[in-house]
C-alpha cells in the first residue's frame, strides 16, 4: 500500500519519517474502520452471549477478506480513472 511515493530528489530526514509514519497511519486507520464495519455486519447486537458464535467468527473472517479486496479494487479503479483523465502519471 505505497501511497506516498517520494519524488526523484533525495528526501530529507523529516520527509522519510513522515512517509513511513503516513503509511502506517493509513494501515492503522484501515484496521479501525474494518473493525467497525465488520462488527456491524456480523455481530448479533443483542449481546445475549459473550462468546463469538461460529457463524459470527466465520462472518468476520470473510468480511475482512472482502473489505481488503474491495479496498484494493477501488484503489485500482480510481488510479485507472485518474490516468485516463490525465493521460497517465496518476498516483494513489
Amino acid at each position: 500500500m505505497s501511497l506516498f511515493g517520494l519524488g526523484a530528489r533525495q528526501p530529507t530526514s523529516a520527509e522519510k519519517i513522515s512517509a513511513v509514519e503516513n503509511e502506517l497511519k493509513v494501515i492503522a486507520e484501515m484496521h479501525t474502520r474494518m473493525i467497525k464495519i465488520c462488527s456491524t455486519k456480523c455481530l448479533d447486537k443483542t449481546y445475549r452471549e459473550g462468546e463469538l458464535s461460529k457463524g459470527e467468527a466465520v462472518c468476520l473472517d470473510r468480511c475482512s477478506a472482502k473489505f481488503f479486496e474491495a479496498h484494493q479494487k477501488i484503489s485500482d479503479q480510481l488510479q485507472q480513472q485518474q490516468q485516463q483523465q490525465q493521460g497517465g502519471g496518476g498516483r494513489f
Binding site: 501511497l3 506516498f4 503516513n22 493509513v26 486507520e29 484501515m30 474502520r33 464495519i37 456491524t40 455486519k41 456480523c42 466465520v58 462472518c59 473472517d61 470473510r62 468480511c63 477478506a65 472482502k66 473489505f67 479486496e69 474491495a70 479496498h71 479494487k73 477501488i74 484503489s75 479503479q77 480510481l78 480513472q81 494513489f92
Partner: protein, 90 residues
Amino acid sequence: MDAGLTNAEQRELENRLQKRQVKEFMNLFSGLVDNCFVSCVDDFTSKALSGRENGCLSRCVLKSMTTQTRLGERFAELNQAMTAEQQGKQ
C-alpha cells in the same frame, strides 16, 4: 484570505496546505470505500467478492466520484458568493 504573509510564511503555509490536501484526499477515499462497501457487500457465504458485489462497487465508485466533482464545483461557487457577500457588508 490574504493575511499579509511574507514569502517565507507563504511557503510554510503552502507546505501545510499540501499536507492538508493529502489528508482530505485520504479522508474522501476512506469515506468512499466505507460507504460503497457498506452499501454493496452483504453476502458472507464466501470470502471473495461476488460478480454482483464487484459490479455494485464499481458503479458506486463511479457515482461517488461524479458526486464529489459536482459538489466540489457547487461548494466553490457557494463559498465565493458568500465571501463576496461578507466583504460587501464590511
